[in-house]
């Protein structure tokens, strides 16, 4: 296979937080290869290091040791403008708290990344409407986030993440603030986008429903990868897993 088989690779990622005397290795040597077009879930209990890994892969925070390669490019080699380009074009971010800009309408939120990409306004608006239709919110384009439900806000956030056709969608507990049913709808939407558009989805979660749609599940604990399971193997075990206290 060509070198482009992997869209994300991490090598020996370490992130250390020091609070007074206490030294916490939030990431403690994480090696992870993620294939192009994969739907991958990063599972683990609260505090296990999922968000820290999300931030490192997404270039939102720098690891203390180790490297992240996006499309075989070492992120540490990028200057500020190249990092901004990467965040704008290559990665789409989805957060547990949606992080929409409160004063902007759904359409303005979705269009914002196209502004940063330098797309002409008309084209950006057209793209924005297209994406809102894709996530089923075309009719709510002029609504502000406060006028939308949590599930709808997360749909807007997903549309925004897709604005510049990224090759990776990074999601940090995308269903964490949603009720069961809405969470399932969001998961289905992410899976659909992964299948239809071929975008790689990397989702940190402790929502077991995610397991069902994932190609692989990475179990993380105390900043280390505990195990990586292929979907085929997970299906066999899923019955017993719910009772398990991970």
């Amino acid at each position: 296979m060509s070198a482009h088989e992997y869209v994300v690779r991490t090598k020996g990622l370490v992130k250390i937080y020091t609070m007074g005397e206490e030294v916490l290795r939030a990431l403690d040597g994480v090696d992870l290869d993620i294939r192009r077009g994969e739907y991958i879930s990063i599972m683990g209990p609260s505090g296990s290091g999922k968000s820290t890994l999300f931030n490192s892969i997404g270039g939102l925070d720098k690891p203390d040791e180790g490297s992240v390669f996006i499309n075989d490019v070492d992120m540490a080699q990028l200057d500020a403008r190249e990092l901004a380009y990467l965040r704008c074009h290559t990665i789409g971010y989805i957060f547990q708290t949606f992080n929409l800009i409160p004063v902007m309408t759904a359409l303005e939120n979705v269009t914002l990344p196209t502004v940063f990409a330098g797309m002409p306004t008309d084209e950006g608006l057209e793209r924005g409407m297209e994406l809102l239709d894709l996530v089923g919110l075309g009719h709510r384009y002029h609504h502000r986030p406060t006028q939308l439900s949590g599930g709808q806000q997360q749909r807007v956030a997903i549309a925004r993440a897709l604005a510049n056709n990224p090759s990776i969608i990074l999601a940090d507990e995308p269903t964490g603030n949603l009720d069961l049913k809405t969470g399932e709808e969001i998961i289905d939407l992410l899976r659909k986008l992964n299948r239809d558009q071929g975008v790689t989805v990397i989702s940190a979660t402790h929502d077991y429903k995610m397991v069902n749609v994932s190609d692989r599940v990475v179990w993380i604990r105390d900043g280390k990868i505990a195990k990586i399971e292929e979907r085929a193997n997970i299906d066999l075990q899923i019955g017993g897993m719910h009772g398990e206290e991970f």
Binding site: N55, G58, L60, D61, K62, N71, D72, V73, Q77, L78, D79, A80, R81, E82, A84, Y85, L86, R87, C88, H89, T90, Y93, F95, N99, L100, I101, P102, V103, M104, L112, P113, V115, F116, A117, G118, R160, A163, N164
Partner: protein, 211 residues
Amino acid sequence: MSAETPDQPSHAKAGIQKQIQLPFSKAWQISLQGIRIRWMRSLITASGILLGIAFFSFVRTAGLFPIDMTDKEAVSASNRQSWLAIMALLVCFVGIMNAMLMSVTERFKEIGTMKCLGALDNFVVKLFFIEAGLMGVLASLAGWVTGWVIMVLLHLLSKGTEGMVSAFWIASVRELALSVGIGTVITLIAAVPPANRAAKMPPIAALRSEI
């Protein structure tokens, strides 16, 4: 601005280019839109600036009317006036700082979000610079007019048009420039450094900041 390196991607960074610098006109457009869609919040922030400058201009305008140097009471009142002007400047400084700092820090999360979407640091700072500059100029202008009009009305009621000679009008224009200058500079000093600090943070740090 430092010398730019060429925008061509190197082979080691295949596919990754340098993010484009958006033109000033784009920043201007987004800033105006920002003020408009945040209209109520902008008005509240602006009224903080307006009140500060109105107080300053009120006190300074009182000092513009010529006084009778043989009138001891008037002379000592005029000295008190200078102290009041300094006080007014302090009040105005604290008021504007307070209003602007609030309005910028409550948007740290927004700065973090914009950086996640591909905004460059200097573009974010530009947005806040334009927004604060516009608010500073307009609110200071309105504040100066308010303070001046009130003082002149009070003067007209008590002393009629006495002292409103050409020197008064010339001095008023000078005071207008001074007030708008001071108001705008304080506004920028309050807004730009924190916006700059948030823009330079790793995005996650700006996103995490809670106020």
